[in-house]
Symmetry: D2
Subunit: 379 residues, 4 copies
């Protein structure tokens, strides 16, 4: 456990290596958090939910940090509001690293003692929590750099694989299936409540939709015909003047997109990414097909490769039967978001190794598209 | 069919009898439509989808009205945007009534001829459409009058029955059930695609939640403890300073509410009404129970009385398997709203007689509460 | 005095003759008030500042009306906020007329008694106040009708005279001049404090700028070159997509404008009207001339005809030396608006007969243009 | 000239010495600019208006910087919009310093050659421009640090002197006075056009208003009585919940304020600062006195000490007679702001040495209060 813990802690810092000090503090949009905040917040999580609860000798690094780096746990006191996270130039990046070392060491010490299951379970959550923020970090740094006039480069990596097989539709039979997490391994509370779901037969694609295919939709006027769109999606693309995936730029008649390696021509062999649910839905309508439900996806997921990009489903993020939230502040982790969001399944090239699984329920509002997502169709 | 048609047309005008001319044009909020607009819009619907399509001799009453009274059918040309509906003082109320008579007569003439199924189906939709607007009219006139400083009275009626039986929870067994509309009777496209759903066993209340019970929630500090709320619900009540159902006013220590009969003391025996989904959910959390899914509701609906108030379910408004929207402009009726809304089931005292059924799927955004809705719990 | 009072009261109602009941209640923009509100508010003013103060036998028509029809007199209790004035369908138009008759009669009775100067002074203010609202009524009804898709007609009148003399610039010498109201006649408090102002010599046009001249500015790209504009004016025209005076519409290559007689081709011989201060300034810059100060205007006003349109000056609305506001609620009449507004001088075809004079200081925010205004230049 | 130039350039960097890298990029409000941006923008000004125009051998440091660091000169191409200045993490602080060195050296080289008056005049403007940004830098860093939850300290300095003389009112006689800049020394275009102004006799205080006096206003309920306020001021304090000067905090019954030395108890002997024009006006109303006009201030300024804080006048920022803006982009310096702003006169402890003079016209919108300002009264 110590090794796994240290590896995850270390990974958060490896991700920051390409950054300048200047990159750490900025909040490029309300839904983006500054890298410094991610580093400190996950550390605060360890402090708040593990150290102050289970280590009687622990003295917090700085009492103020609980106020500064709480994200949304109302049960743990006041918190800095999301839109002003990017205005906190202090504490410095250096001090945040020092805070990290302090807390990492304290956890290592704690892990060297005999711990009961309750603590180990929360440490498992802490590890998964930090991994989630590692993925958000990738989304956020791409947004921070990709919205600057100079399009700076982050470095290598985080590119999905090209699609290199012919598209086939895989059949799944009608029937009652088991849904949700089973077994003793870690899962979040929103996956629990293993239960039965009846599914009508369907066919699901072995491939994600490619940039090439999505470009056909654009060129066929897909963004100009309201018949393909939800009413809210149509308002949303018009109000925000959206005509292509996020990070795409038409420059002198050619499509480029910003990647962590800088501005590049759109690679037609790659899966299309950075779409809102509205766009994924409109594409499916234009194609005369549809998005899978999260149940269809989970049932069929053994038949195809996944993990390059999170996949929008046409399922709202709702509680499973008999869902019950954890007691205390950790109960705020998932349940309170179960309205107005859509489920994504799978994982992405930005997901920490081993973090996801086929029952994993990711979720975002339908207009969000800075996350690493793509489209898989059903017919 | 002629009689049924005339009855429905007449009912729209009966509802307007208590109105002053001044009441017809105002739009008290973006989600409210002026009474005059309702009267004209349903008439335009008959003109646009029946008369201009199937009566070769029909000349529109006034070409401009298509522009003025289209609601959201993008396929039928430009439309007046929702927020400015209340600024159209012309055409006058008198002219709108004249427009109604002109169109009613033309439909009656058409109905006197031999019509094929395609036309009759659309006439059936037209009747149901006008009934839907009759219900919206009740919501809207209550909002228009109930938000004025003088609290004017509309008239009698539209009050749900008192709860007069002890609360019991009715058991339903696990199993695969049929869901959705079957048979030849009219239904909307969103109810179609009869399909199987597996449901875990549950128990559902025979009663709606009463004002008395809801008041206990208020007095127990339900609006002050974020643990009962969705994150978005918590923001919503705080930003809008919401501490009670819509139309409730605390006056010198006592709760009053605005009804169509004027401002009255809250009647504790009546079912609580005018809640957002957020509030319905928070109440269920506080009670340690939950809202039913729309499938649970439909399966159990033969076991209890319903029809006093629409009932919030914890189901998002999503397409049934094999949902397909109608061709042409009528295809805009339902499908394009299937995101970010929650399903309500049942019917209300403001619903036109015979308009609803147990498979009927009503839907609203989770923050809407001017509609006639209530809470039924499951455990 | 009785005759003058009755004439003014009557004039408010004559202005409403062309209206339908439907036109009385609508508030087409936040800066517009519904006609019904104007009729009731001026009546409330008589009730509040004359009858309840000086007629010991007076019983208010309806206690609630003080709350409903106060405009901005904080000293006289709560008031209905401006943006919701258009949502009050009650009291009815009929009742407002009955309220008017009740108050008119009470004032006539009071005027039949012997009154001291204090009362007569306030009655004089009441008359001028009602006249001001008569002018606002014309602006507002034009806005209400002119922003409807059907462009309904109000009736005849309220059109400025064509410009029928060659433009000349009239010289005024440098020197110290007297500014402000003198003598015993009525004036508002903002004109008082007759004082000296030193003015450098200047030349002022005998004509207002014509539609023909303003069209040259438009066609020369005046709305596209930021060099002519204030920084705020440039933002304002871009945010609001403004490219011509209010009520102008380019239809199939030709300029039309909405008048109270309906939509008509722009008459090139008329003075240009319905401009913001920003546009008036930009035009002057393009022309290489400038707007007069309010002092220049007052000094020169005996040399030219005025009264067709209020004339923007390049003077901010500030207190004269030794300005002192009236005691009590009437002190809120003018002084509290002396920031962020610009002075207009003269009068317009919508101004009540005899209401204005050369020392009269009208004022509006620089982005307002629904009032009857025009441009006179200085070089 | 070389020495003066180098001294001013150096001073900009001295001001940054207490900063962490993290402090350089943040934009704490729309009206605040990041320190990095100030450093780069003033450098761009030298490059754009001096080097590229007058040094034929000059090659810009980086072509992109003109786009990044232009503030509002529409004549010089596209510019980064104000609200996103704080999102540019690149170029780095280090690179901005390198840019500064590059440009400073190029100007020094240019200054070593024989230059004609045109160039020297623009260099003079460049020096004054950089000094203006030094003052804005002080306002901005105070805002950046003073709005963080941890109230970090900047360092010493920038505190006005205590008031240590009894308040007297100094008499000035009526008469015609000369206003505006005269002579060959540098001034901005908005001070030019020396002209005569007639002023009525008045008496002006020898002291600024103190914290002690302003506290009396607060404690007398000054923020709760609309009679002291402009209508817009009253809305502004209520919408923004303003009840004290900027940076004041009531902590356990005592008033503290944030200073560049950290959070300190309010020092009653110091002049009150960080007020909006609305507050300055309300204070004067409560006191039964008034703010001076800018002409009164200029005429009387030889009679009292000034320079601790900019002083709000009750004069709008308008052009002097015969004002003409400079040709080309420098013409955008002042004229286009002459609407909706109020004039402040004097100077402050944050003003660069020798930068101001008695004819200097500073200006801000009436709701701005992060600048170093105070109140002097007239009666």
């Amino acid at each position: 456990m110590i090794n796994r813990f240290l590896e995850v802690r270390n990974q958060s810092e490896i991700l920051c290596e390409p950054l300048l000090i200047e990159d750490y503090s900025v909040q490029a949009s309300e839904f983006v958090s500054p890298p410094k905040w991610h580093l400190a917040h996950v550390t605060w999580f360890w402090e708040e939910f593990v150290l102050t609860k289970f280590d009687p000798n622990y003295t917090p690094y700085n009492e103020e940090f609980s106020f500064l780096f709480n994200s949304y746990y109302n049960n743990v006191g006041k918190r800095v509001l999301r839109p002003v996270r990017g205005l906190m130039t202090r504490p410095s990046v250096q001090e945040v690293y020092s805070y990290r070392r302090f807390v990492t060491e304290a956890i290592v010490n704690l892990l060297s003692t005999k711990l009961d299951k309750e603590v180990l379970d929360i440490i498992e959550i802490g590890i998964n929590h930090e991994q989630q923020h590692q993925e958000l970090f990738v989304y956020d740094i791409k947004y921070i750099l990709g919205n600057q006039p100079t399009f700076p480069t982050y470095g290598t990596g985080f590119t999905p694989k090209a699609i290199n097989q012919a598209t086939e539709f895989l059949k799944v039979d009608s029937g009652v299936y088991d849904i949700g997490h089973q077994g003793a391994d870690f899962s979040f509370d929103n996956e629990l409540g293993n239960h039965k779901v009846y599914v009508t037969d369907f066919e699901i694609s072995n491939n994600l939709v490619s940039n090439k295919e999505y470009l056909e939709f654009i060129e066929a006027g897909g963004y100009k015909d309201f018949n393909f769109w939800h009413d809210e999606g149509w308002s949303w693309i018009n109000e925000n003047k959206i005509q292509a995936p996020l990070y795409w730029h038409k420059i002198e008649g050619e499509w480029w997109n910003y990647t962590l390696q800088g501005l590049q021509k759109v690679d037609l062999t790659l899966p299309v990414m950075h779409l809102s649910f509205y766009e994924a839905f409109a594409y499916s309508q234009w194609k005369g097909q549809r998005l899978p439900t999260e149940f269809e996806w989970e049932i069929a997921s053994d038949k195809f490769d996944w993990g390059q990009l999170w996949e929008w489903t046409y399922s709202a993020y709702l509680p499973y039967p008999n869902f019950s939230k954890s007691p205390g502040a950790l109960g705020e982790y998932n349940g309170k978001f179960m309205v107005n969001q859509m489920v994504l399944r799978g994982g992405s090239v930005a997901t920490a190794a081993g973090h996801s699984r086929k029952t994993y329920r990711n979720f975002f509002h339908p207009n969000m598209r800075w996350q690493y997502n793509g489209i898989r169709l059903v017919k």
